[in-house]
Symmetry: C2
Subunit: 192 residues, 2 copies
DNA sequence: CTCCCAAGTCATCGATCGATGACACAAGCC
DNA sequence: GGCTTGTGTCATCGATCGATGACTTGGGAG
């Protein structure tokens, strides 16, 4: 797989970018342990030694490959944030990661401790902080993490488990169900 | 780690069982790729060749290690099933798997396709079928898989991401929140 | 055209992996 | 005690891994 047919034959920046793209695809599909630097280099059609010259080590390449900036959550209502997050985390088509979210990519490579640390940081400090701020009542952090669990779980069911219904259901069908769940979490417990 | 201090020195059944226990722990903590047969054998204090003699291959050992029978869901109300499932999948203390559910262990080793197939089968055909049967209205499969996503997500948040709130919250605090979510999924959409 | 630096290649290292087959040794039986 | 059977060990194979350093080659500057 040559990422770009017209890649110049001796262009450091282009080659580095092509290696990064190939690494993202490989890591997304096969995880960290299942991917070798020789595979990545072969995808680009280049010598494996270039990986170490440009990125230092396989670890550094992975770090740079799965790095993604967390979008500034538009400070709207809980409904708006839910819709944005579901779209961004679950349904956004990340072509560079084979259609999966970097969080799922990291999850697939969660054998290493640093990856788990990055996961926790990106999720809890990044995506879920807004939810915790919006939840009123007791234990907002716990309820925010339950939203995170739901979103992560949906991603896992679609990308890893490949469960039939969730994989085929479009965004328009999944969103209202998720909205009902988040709304139920926001309301105080009903004591009839 | 010798599983049992008084293990007889030449006892095939006991040695095999000890290898299986050690394999479960290693696979649970480090995943399939991160675990070597030499590690497992060293845990038991035995030669690595015994692994192949008793189990055939590393793959076969993994298959046997993560095999778990799905409990027959007591055919009670949706509330009862939810409580049972949350306890069994998320909060049951599986000592033999370092406290984690075999589903999470498989998830940590999901690089191989057969593992993903087993995951999908055990989850959708096993755990979630009961939910789909209990859900009235449209798209019961989708809603059942959303329950599965929630449970799997909670397991991931606790075991992999190690998110603070969900990890520390006891069963008694998490269960009512999950109950509210499942109940919201069961009710027909509210159109005020 | 030539020179020179950067881009890319080649050979190779040491470690580790799963796996195999020949071998050593303890236990039960006679 | 000698023999058989089965439990466990040892040495080793071939492949693959990440990583290193010396080497080659292309392309722009002069």
């Amino acid at each position: 797989m040559l990422t770009s047919m017209e890649r110049k034959r001796r262009d450091k920046a282009a080659t580095r970018a092509a290696l990064l793209d190939a690494a993202r695809l490989r890591f997304a599909r096969q995880g960290y342990d299942g991917t070798g630097v020789r595979d990545i280099a072969a995808d680009v059609g280049v010598d494996p030694a270039l990986v170490f010259r440009y990125f230092g080590s396989k670890d550094d390449l992975f770090e740079e490959a799965v790095h993604v900036e967390i979008p500034e959550s538009a400070g709207g209502s809980l409904t708006d944030i839910t819709a944005a997050l579901l779209n961004d985390v679950v349904f956004a088509d990340r072509q560079e990661f084979d259609g999966e979210h970097p969080l799922i990519v990291m999850l697939r490579s969660s054998g290493r401790a640093e990856v788990r640390d990055r996961l926790r940081h990106d999720l809890c400090e990044g995506y879920l902080r807004t939810f915790a701020d919006h939840f009123k009542g007791a234990a907002p952090d716990l309820r925010a993490e339950l939203v995170g669990a739901l979103l992560v779980g949906i991603g896992v069911m679609r990308s890893v488990v490949a469960s039939p219904a969730l994989t085929q259901a479009p965004y328009e069908e999944t969103l209202p169900l998720v909205q009902r769940l988040v709304a139920a979490l926001d309301q105080p417990p009903a004591h009839p």
